[in-house]
């Protein structure tokens, strides 16, 4: 096999720099990120976990309509944003709340969609975070467009585009990879392979050797990483962002992780998998692992651990308080945002509703 293939095919095994027991391993190509980065990452993981679990609790309390948690996938969430600069863009899915908040978007605004007061609650331009996409894989094309426009404008922008293992089966995944490759667009396609698409396991999703092997069919280098190893993810994603920024075109990264909880609170995972399958993954928890490494390396002690926990508590508290407030979105808004200038038809319909509501109140 030629150099082209060596350049485009992923490593034989997912890149891992810290193993399940917290031990660091040397890697021929990738190096452990600096200590401060890992310590900072640890705090973000703890906060992400807290956010996930608090949001799930708020669903049970009826304060959110639904919450697709990334519990157990926080290393992917945090790494995806830590490797980006302010000038870069993030394209998240419905499961990527933690990534969005890590990027600096207000958590309450982020949860607007799942609370149900509006479709998307934050200003995408403020932190360069696209609205969360529910139609699977569609956002990948938008990401390519943003990246291509940035290049046309001469801007130094890399776009991080997130997708799940299930999402890779959609036609839009294919078209996005292909357009990005042909246009040489600075996009990092980041697949969080958590082994499930709702109830459908990876084996029913694809027969590929790995999802990272999909890159070569587009001329895009593919790489894979252990999705529960923040260090490995930072190294692999960081390098990919670096290559994209340097003009080497799109990159495809697969993180191998696992959805330890149900798809959402509305799902019942016991219908399609055994607890026995889940158990080993709980052992591979990304926080445990980083904690063990940092503790062993003398970089984390009880004080720092407590500080991270307390920062996370603050986020949780902010969520709880914020989401306890009842919101009353104004029905008039239903007609305001479709067009820069509402059509006569919408003005008529808005008046109809206003009139109806006025009569209701009377």
């Amino acid at each position: 096999m030629s150099t082209v293939e060596e350049r485009l095919l992923p490593s034989a095994e997912p890149v891992r720099l810290i193993d399940e027991h917290g031990a660091a391993h040397d890697h021929a190509q990738y190096q452990l990120p600096p200590a401060e980065t890992l310590v900072d990452g640890y705090a973000q993981l703890v906060k992400g976990r807290r956010l996930n679990d608090q949001a799930s609790a708020l669903v049970r309390q009826g304060r959110l309509a639904v919450y697709p948690s990334s519990h157990g996938q926080e290393a992917c969430q945090v790494a995806a944003t830590m490797v980006l600069g302010d000038q870069d863009w993030l394209f998240p899915t419905y499961r990527d709340t933690v990534a969005i908040v890590s990027r600096g978007v207000d958590p309450i605004e982020t949860l607007t969609l799942l609370r149900g007061d509006w479709h998307s609650g934050y200003d995408p331009y403020e932190r360069k975070v696209a609205p969360q996409s529910t139609p699977l894989a569609t956002q990948l094309l938008h990401a390519v467009g943003v990246a291509h426009a940035a290049r046309l404008k001469g801007e130094d922008t890399v776009v991080m585009a997130l997708v799940g293992d299930g999402g890779t089966s959609e036609g839009d995944f294919h078209e996005a990879l292909n357009f990005a490759a042909v246009w040489h667009a600075p996009v990092v396609f980041f697949i969080q392979n958590n082994e499930y698409a709702i109830s459908v396991p990876l084996a029913k999703q694809t027969a590929a050797p790995s999802l990272a092997h999909k890159g070569i069919g587009y001329g895009v280098p593919g790489e894979r990483a252990d999705g529960n190893d923040l260090a490995g993810l930072l190294a692999v994603l960081g390098a990919a962002v670096g290559r994209a920024r340097a003009g080497e075109g799109p990159q495809l990264i697969e993180a191998h992780t696992y959805r330890v909880q149900a798809h959402t609170n509305a799902d019942d995972a016991s219908r399609y998998r055994d607890d026995a399958e889940v158990a080993p993954w709980l052992e591979r928890d990304p926080i445990k692992r980083l904690d063990a490494y940092l503790t062993g390396a003398g970089l984390l002690d009880d004080d720092k651990r407590a500080a991270a926990a307390s920062a996370a508590d603050q986020t949780a508290e902010y969520l709880r308080v914020g989401l306890m407030e009842d919101v009353h979105p104004d029905p008039a808004e239903l007609f305001q945002h479709l067009y820069s200038t509402p059509t006569p038809q919408l003005r008529e319909q808005a008046a109809f509703l206003a009139d109806e509501l006025a009569r209701e109140e009377a």
């Binding site: 639904v66 969609l113 139609p135 959609e170």
Partner: protein, 328 residues
């Protein structure tokens, strides 16, 4: 005993089960329809009873699901496929419009496609964006498709059985908010077939024309109107394509006044068609223009605002009041 009390989801499940028992070539596939039994449990237990070869999960790709179903139907199968929510049927739109709808015509009738595309649709369940679309008008406008929507538990069972037996492709719209509505039905007595509308309630003053999720609302409105002394007739279309002009026009002629009640946005929709064709046919029987109570021309609202989008009893009664009862 064929009397059973079922929810609409259960009735659909029973219909699939009975169809699969009756005919080995009936297959059910889509996203999460296997072990999980579908996100609405409509396919619950089918894999257990019929095996993975008859009811199975596919890769996550709707064009793939519809496209492969076409091939299976070409080769002797009767596939039933599920689009998890109707808005996730859009990726399959080309397959539906350019092939499902056209195959029989293109081949001069040599290749029929006996397939059913099941689509949970419409709102009223507090779903977030993309989970409450009403896309029936896209399909109804596409020549070559048959489009039905049950509003009762019995119709859920019988229309689905008929759709699966139908020699041509059927788009089967399942009103999500009625999935949990229960009723006692008699599986031994068939409901009318595809293409037939049914008068659900008699009434001499005005006609409400509804289908799918708005039928129960229309019936409620008729109940409320009756309390105020106005008798509303309620027609349940059941079948959007073919359209039962005869039943609908006869009903409208009897009352001279009509309101169409549909959840989808009104512009260029099935409800526009109903107004247009009934007016064309019954103009001189009409005492007032036919009114529409539909969703506004906006994307389906977020959960906290959805009630404003849904045709309500009050809105229907207001529309009825508007039917120029005084001389104008």
């Amino acid at each position: 005993m064929t009397h059973v009390k079922l929810s609409m989801a259960q009735a659909l499940n029973q219909a699939l089960r009975d169809a699969m028992r009756a005919d080995d070539t009936v297959l059910m596939f889509g996203e999460d329809v296997g072990a999980l039994g579908g996100v609405f449990r409509v396919t619950d237990g089918l894999t257990a009873e019929f095996g993975e070869a008859r009811c199975f999960d596919t890769p996550l790709a709707e064009s793939g699901i519809v496209g492969t179903a076409i091939g299976m139907a070409m080769n002797g199968m009767r596939p039933v496929v599920e689009m998890q929510f109707d808005a996730f049927g859009y990726p399959a739109f080309e397959q539906v419009v350019s092939h499902v709808a056209k195959m029989r015509n293109r081949t001069r009738g040599r290749v029929s496609l006996p397939m059913v595309i099941r689509m949970p649709y419409a709102g009223g369940i507090g779903g977030v964006e993309h989970h409450c679309d009403s896309s029936e008008s896209y399909y109804a406008h596409t020549p070559g498709l048959t489009v039905v929507a049950p509003a009762t538990v019995a119709d859920a069972y019988w229309l689905l059985r008929r759709a699966i037996e139908f020699p041509d492709p059927v788009v089967f719209m399942e009103p999500k908010k009625l999935y949990w509505a229960k009723d006692e039905i008699d599986l031994g007595v068939a409901e009318p077939g595809i293409g037939q509308a049914v008068v659900r309630r008699e009434g001499a003053d005005a006609t409400l024309i509804a289908y799918g999720p708005t039928v129960p609302v229309a019936l409620e409105a008729a109940e409320a109107a009756a309390a105020e002394g106005r008798q509303l007739q309620v027609v349940d279309l059941r079948s959007i394509v073919p359209f039962d002009d005869e039943t609908v026009c006869a009903a409208v002629r009897r009352t001279g006044r009509a309101v169409v009640v549909a959840e989808a946005s009104g512009f260029a929709s099935v409800s526009s068609e109903i107004v247009a064709r009934v007016t064309e046919r019954c103009f001189h029987s009409l005492a007032a223009p036919i009114r529409r109570v539909t969703g506004f021309d906006i994307p389906y609202p977020p959960p906290h605002l959805e009630r404003h989008q849904l045709p309500s009893v009050d809105r229907i009664l207001d529309a009825v009041d508007d039917l120029q009862w005084e001389d104008s």
